[in-house]
Symmetry: C2
Subunit: 187 residues, 2 copies
């Protein structure tokens, strides 16, 4: 039986990220799981307008999206609890820069994507920053047979409904393949 | 050691959804995992411009986002392999409508969100449809203590890099809580 929940967002889990921004020339990181994919090379991050990082993205037109592993759960939660207005969160991490000179990245995150801002969308309380990926870096130990192995990345998945961090489970099927039986049945 | 991967999108896994649209007055469903969250009640779906569904979203200004369980993996893969131009994919499912009269939803998906289109973004090859959630429906058997239990939803997570469907693992920490030790350490 179906139950009505009101206008509740249940589009979870989402990957938890650390968004890196230079603000006044200094690296800052904010934990964001309200992210999206808008094309093969285009991703979005959703920031409340009250956050310290927004001005830095607007100023530099760059940001990074870093994918932490579950071993970093305390650090990523901390980066969502405190503001760069008051605390130097970058002190927690070894920070590096890539091709885009103003998008700080975190060495200990197995995946780092540096982005150029291509569009900003304004909602009442939030700004959506849409970035085109310029370069992606990964740790050599998360690669299997030349490809990024998401089980080695071991990302932190976020669910709003229970305010929980979840692990990734097992791979169980091949996309663009497991449904081929049905194509044949119906042709 | 860091390796450069080029401008590779590694923002995975993402939840796999079936997007429901009326096209020429008939229900159609398309498998989309390139989705996003843009606010507490605002979500996005990214569709290649060549898809059959886009015209229906533009015409009706409505669509639904249905979250399938892993038991539906063959059906969701099929709905990504074939086009509504050629096949009546809605015949696979029991379809229902809610408050928004033109957003078809799938009974067998444990979560259904009906959306009003609030914005469309045009990229070269893709259109991003941004919807405000009007009403969310869930199966009564995925609720634990009055809340949607994502482990009972058992969503299908998509990873592009290995073209794989993955399961959700275990909940392992509380958000806005597990990092509090660090706040205290540093205050």
């Amino acid at each position: 039986m179906k139950i009505e929940l009101g206008n509740k967002n249940c589009l979870y889990p989402m990957p938890t990220t650390l968004v890196g921004v230079n603000v006044d020339g200094k690296a800052n990181f904010i934990t964001i799981a309200h992210v999206g994919i808008m094309g093969m090379k285009i991703i979005s991050v959703c920031l409340n307008k009250e956050h310290y990082s927004n001005a830095g993205i607007i100023e530099n037109k760059t940001f990074s999206v870093n994918m932490p592993s579950i071993r970093m759960v305390k650090e990523i939660d901390y980066c969502g609890l405190v503001s760069g207005k008051n605390v130097n969160k970058a002190a927690l991490f070894d920070v590096f820069y890539g091709k885009v000179k103003t998008a700080p990245m975190i060495e200990s995150c197995p995946i780092n994507m540096e982005c150029m801002l291509v569009k900003k969308i304004d909602f009442t309380s939030h700004e959506i920053f849409i970035g085109e990926i310029v370069e992606t870096y990964c740790d050599d130990d998360v690669v299997t047979n030349g490809k990024v192995d998401v089980s080695k990345v071991n990302p932190i998945l976020f669910v709003m409904n229970d305010k929980g961090y979840w692990k990734l489970g097992k791979r169980f099927a091949d996309a663009w393949n497991v449904g081929k039986d049905l194509v044949e049945d119906k042709s």
